[in-house]
Amino acid sequence: MFSFFSLEGVIIMPYEFAEEKIFCSGHHACPGCNAALAIRYIVNTLGKNTIAVVPPSCIAIISGPQPLSSMRIPVYQTTLEASAASAAGIKRALVTQGKDHINVVAMAGDGGTYDIGFQSLSSAAERNEDIIYICLDNEGYMNTGAQKSSSTPYLAYTTSTPAGKPTAKKNVAEIMAAHRIPYMATATTGYLDDLVRKIQKAKEIKGLRFIVVLIPCLDGWGVADHEGAKISRLAVQTGLFPLYEVENGTKYTLNYGPQGVPIESYLSRQKRYRHITKDQINEIQENLDADWEILKKKF
């Protein structure tokens, strides 16, 4: 597999992507934003025969204020609860018009996926709607200034959990896999080749395809501007966020698992964890190890 090399702080990607120029520069994301990076490779891989659905989120800001747009495809902005239903409505209408070849992608944040949008997503999965649903998961309501979502990890600081979140992150990957949808995958911005391959693969499959993309939020997590991709890679290397795929709810494939990096090196680079104790770091490590023991049996 390809890997990243660091030469005096300069990151070189030893691969190139065949991108279709859908996502434009000059968008409204923060400097160094990993969501914008992910959106670029998602929509540029899906190509121009695509309609996107976006709920209120950073993604909505990045896609641009009317009459401007950062994407050279139609983007419909729906309500926070309804991304999957809105995307499904578009696809059904396209089918009745004989335009089945057009991709419909919903791109929502973790709030719009794990929380308020989950009911419509679960139902769309049960109906096996022919849509691609991408959750750009930055582990909180970052667009409203970093409040807790059900994706926020244990002990992480947010403005609605100033003492640290007392409960664990919801495991949306396994929940979606349990719907036995044709394709479920995890991805992150530190492994763009893996992300692009998964988008390409999803594009070729019919039915509901779900990809959760871990997006380090520089501002919300308290990460240095240049460290987004590094944090993303550490999430994988520590085993906190394994990259894997599940086909039809049963066929598990591991892409990148834990590589023996202790969780402390991930936590210590983020201000949202700066209040936690050594014991709590150990507790997070133990939880992570236990989770991996369960997951690894599935591959």
Partner: protein, 385 residues
Amino acid sequence: MSQRHTRMLLNGNHAAAYGAKLARPKVIPVYPITPQTPILEKITEFQAQGAIDANIMTMESEHSAMAACITASLTGVRVFTATASQGLMLMHGMLHYASGAQAPIVMVNVNRTIGSPWGFWPDQTDSLSQRDTGWIQYYCENGQESLDTVIQAYWVAEKVLLPVMVMHEAFYVSHAVEVVKVPDQEIVDQYLPPFDPPHRLDPEIGESWGNVVNQEMFYRHRKMLGQSMDKALDAAQQADAMWQQYTGRGYGVIEEYLCEDAQLIIITMGSMVGTAREAVTQMREAGIPVGLLKVKLFRPFPVDILRRVLTGVPKVMVLDRNFAPGTGGFLHQELRSALYGLDRGPEIYGYLAGVGGTNVPPTKIASLAQNVLDEECSVSSVWKG
């Protein structure tokens, strides 16, 4: 020679479902709720029989049903859905989204009490409380009218690019079986041109909808939405006149019954119109100078027409089968507002009658009319059972 129509024994819900079928919607997102469910069941039965070429989406909630209606409509196809009561309440935010996007959706709402407490009874508070969501609203008194109005609703919706809600009440109309003339498909095909919206979600076109606008754009958008609603009055009259030419059945946006020289005009909507018509007929036979005015089109409210018709009428009695605390009866409030400052305008008696589905027979309406002739007029709506 075409048969033109088929006479069928149908309940109000099935009549509405036939209306939807004849309009040839392509996407139908639905969710069951009493007393709307027979509409959903008839539609899915049509599809199972191959009698309807529509993509049915069995959603997990009314909220998602309306979300899918909006995007399917914006993708350029005709859509239909139906709901009632709490279902409409759950859709509330999406109702605004639909009108904001100027999606010409047609939805039947079966008027039912909203909780709590739980109830299943005829009461128009559900849809009337959505009067400010930018939807055109029609109220029907029987199944035939619901069928005809659903088809007219598509004509109006697609003409002015606004969504339309067609109401009939729980059980009195939804489940009451009557003979209904179901028009031939070719009549409806001639009446209703294929849906061909000027804007749509299509990569070939590249237009987007719904993202952030600035204050000036928002202002302009709301103003344009208002202009569309203003045009809906003419469109509704035109749609009805044309339907009358095609089928012989027209309703008007309001209907006047025995209003000539009336000293008192009873004004109401929905199923109570039929009861009031009976009461007025009997009172006229007894020599009491009473008339009836049916409000069929509630949004846009036909203000100018009502001001013209009610000039010089001494008294009106509004019967509201609906209630909002602090407001009273919706129709009473709307009518007071519409007639404000009218030279030789009537005294307006607002009676809350049938709220929660209590029975209001013709004899009750006759006794209420007698109250009006004898009583002082109150500014507020008065509870009359």
